[in-house]
Symmetry: C2
DNA sequence: TAATTTGGTTTATATTATAAACTTATTTAT
DNA sequence: ATAAATAAGTTTATAATATAAACCAAATTA
């Protein structure tokens, strides 16, 4: 009846992160932070979890002398997101 | 950008409960338990939270000699559910 | 009358989410 | 030159949540 919701995606911030990344080829830490209105600490933790799950890739580099963290959604991430949305329909369809 | 998701509804079990109740005039504890595949303890706790929030009403009565808990969604609950679904669209629309 | 079932509630634990505090390096101002 | 402020995150501590296990009372069945 009700499909299980992927707990990694059923989180307000992580879902917002995935939503931001879906629309884009890549996005850096601060852009995601602005779009999601997250605190840096919270975002850092949640990006780690998404990366651990293989839903995003995180690349740490530099822009000039400043560190720059760039994130991309992976094919597995896209698939997981689609599954999540599909599962959600059980809950919200009328 | 991303609307805040009502934390009372952004919970797998509570959302499933609301989803069940939306389709029905009323439902008793065990029916909801079956539909959602929840344990009794978990369901009891989550029904309390929904009732505290005024999203459902819970009526404890008897059927014959056996206790029977009947739940109904309230107008506030319907409104909250609709708001939640509307907010979700920010996150899942492509 | 002892064991089992029904219909739950309460309590304890594990997991999560989140913010606050901290770190390291870079600019900017004095 | 050096002190203060800013940038870009990470780590750690705390609060909130979800969940199952343990429990309880009444009714039914063996």
């Amino acid at each position: 009846m009700f499909k299980k919701l992927d707990p990694l995606l059923h989180s307000e911030l992580r879902l917002a992160v995935m939503s931001v990344l879906l629309g884009l080829k890549e996005a850096d830490f601060n852009y995601i932070k602005e779009q999601t209105q997250a605190t840096a600490g919270n975002l850092s933790v949640q990006l780690d979890k998404l990366a651990q799950a293989g839903y995003i890739s995180v690349e740490k580099g530099f822009e000039g002398k400043r560190p720059k963290t760039t994130c991309r959604i992976t094919p597995a991430g896209i698939q997981a997101f689609e599954n999540y949305v599909e599962s959600l329909k059980d809950y919200i369809k009328r």
